[in-house]
């Protein structure tokens, strides 16, 4: 479900499924918690493979934000299609830091 790698002390997590909905969020939260607890890195969450996300999936993304606390950053990338509408509808595009690609996410973190 997740593919993760560390680039320049940043944990990059890519979702390898095309739906993040009620059926999958428990597994997602469990797995990503394992990945982000391995170190104290900032996290980039790549959603480019996700074609459908429902409110439970959005809730899971919010819980990642909470898992990281205030000292670690979360950047989302690869948000497209219906996900753009969902983030806009729920105004969560203002809560999350969203950039277009993993590369721009990395340079945004490294610029700090």
């Amino acid at each position: 479900m997740l593919e993760s790698k560390v680039v320049n002390h940043v944990t990059c997590v890519k979702l390898a499924v095309d739906r993040l909905d009620a059926a999958r969020t428990a597994e997602f939260k469990d797995k990503i918690e394992g990945v982000i607890n391995q170190n104290a890195n900032h996290v980039i969450l790549n959603l480019s493979a996700i074609k459908f996300m429902d409110s439970t999936g959005l809730g899971a993304a919010v819980s990642v934000l909470k898992m990281l606390g205030s000292h670690r950053e979360l950047i989302l990338c690869g948000v497209s299609g219906m996900l753009v509408d969902l983030f806009k509808l729920t105004k969560m595009d203002r809560v999350f830091n969203i950039v277009d690609s993993e590369a721009s996410a990395l340079s945004a973190i490294n610029a700090k």
Partner: protein, 415 residues
């Protein structure tokens, strides 16, 4: 050991001497042997007696041991039947075939009592394992049924609190709702606030299951208790926009303070002056509402998004203020509508929903809802149920009802 199905043994052997010998050995070991010389009769006995252990000869006229094994495995018995085949050394190929056909073990002629005991012990081990597995499955099924029952009860409790279609002042309300197979967390309601106002809302709790249903029910009760506060503020002269915004701001913070899990919900909330048609709406992460009146050639989308309830502290909720024209309709719906997928996994989407809402404007309210629901069901086509709760609530600022109201006011005024 109690005499249960696994202590009954059926001997299938055409050699009567062998049949007797085997029967004696088994009796001495504490089994209850039954015997027949015919494969067909063996099948008949197995269907009418609870027998879990069969010892059969391989070479028999009319039905061979091999055929009997196949016939037993082809039947759907409630319990497992363990088959031991009696074989002579020359039978090695047909023995292999018979094991393939479903025999569990074999014993060779001449019979050695020690070997027979060992084979039977191993048979009993397998049968006991099978029985305990069966027992566990039964318990699991019982628990599963209990959970399903509780879910159905939660579903019907939620359905039970949904309001009847009704008129409140000049406003008619009607709706359709269908719960997903796995209970979701949609709920909606409308009620009068004082003499000239009303409140309506729709909520969609994130997630499914009894937790979502419980949360939806909590919101339903919270909103009912808020009724008095709304009335007091209206009487104090506060604007509907201010009352709606403040309510959502406070409610969000209260919810965040109380909640113990990741639960949150989206909501579309409205306060309406039934005399003037002024309405204040707050969209909290819920799909935008749709509006149409007689002067319009297209459907208007109401709301451009807003934070859900229960995710962000001190979130601001801006009110959208509108003036409903007579004959106008406002449609609020859950994302189960727009996220409804057809067989090709294509979403129904907002555009199509706007179109069917527009087309149905010429029909009466009930007819419009039936038509809109029909379009959605057609989209879902042969899938048994929706993946998410589907709620659609339409309010109509009704000309007739408004006149009726005015007339009754006049009558009151004359009095």
């Amino acid at each position: 050991m109690q005499i249960t199905a696994e202590k009954k043994v059926l001997i299938v052997e055409d050699d009567l001497l062998m049949q007797k010998l085997l029967g004696k050995l088994l009796s001495n070991m504490g089994f209850c042997p039954m015997a027949t010389s015919q494969g067909h009769e063996a099948l008949h006995l197995l269907m009418h007696e609870e027998i879990s252990l069969v010892i059969t000869d391989l070479n028999m006229p009319s039905m061979s041991g091999h055929e009997l094994c196949k016939a037993i495995r082809a039947k759907d018995f409630q319990h497992y039947i363990y088959i031991i085949v009696i074989t002579s050394q020359s039978d090695s190929q047909s023995l292999a075939d018979t094991m393939q056909a479903g025999a569990d073990d074999f014993i060779s002629k001449p019979l050695n009592p020690a070997e027979l005991t060992a084979r039977l012990k191993s048979a009993l081990r397998v049968l006991e394992l099978e029985a305990s597995l069966n027992h566990r499955n039964q318990k699991l099924n019982l628990t599963l049924n209990q959970i399903k029952l509780e879910q159905d009860e939660a579903k019907s409790t939620l359905l039970g609190v949904l309001p009847q279609p009704q008129h409140i002042g000049a406003v008619s309300f009607n709706w359709f709702f269908e719960a997903s197979s796995f209970i979701g967390g949609d709920i909606f309601d409308y009620f009068p606030v004082g003499n000239d106002h009303l409140c309506f809302y729709m909520v969609d709790v994130a997630g499914h299951g009894v937790m979502a249903a419980l949360q939806a029910f909590t919101v339903y009760n919270d909103l009912l208790s808020a009724q008095v506060g709304f009335e007091r503020k209206i009487n104090a002269g506060q604007s509907l926009a201010a009352i709606a915004s403040t309510f959502m701001f406070d409610y969000n913070n209260q919810f965040l303070e109380k909640k113990r899990n990741d639960c949150y919900f989206t909501m579309f909330f409205g306060l309406l002056n039934t005399q003037s048609g002024e309405v204040a709406l707050v969209q909290a992460g819920h799909p935008a509402a749709l509006y149409i009146d007689a002067d319009m050639t297209t459907v208007q989308i109401v709301g451009d998004g807003g934070l859900p309830i229960g995710l962000v502290e001190n979130a601001n909720y801006e009110s959208i203020v509108m003036q409903l024209k007579l004959g106008a309709r406002l449609c609020i719906y859950s994302d189960g509508v727009t996220d409804c997928e057809n067989n090709e996994s294509e979403f129904f989407g907002q555009q199509r929903w706007m179109q069917v809402f527009h087309e149905a404007y010429s029909m009466d309210l009930q007819g419009a809802l039936t038509s809109m629901e029909g379009h959605l069901k057609g989209w879902r086509s042969n899938q048994a149920s929706y993946k998410d709760d589907v709620s659609c609530l339409i309010l109509e600022y009704d000309v007739d009802q408004c006149l009726l109201n005015k007339n009754s006011d006049d009558v009151l005024g004359d009095g």
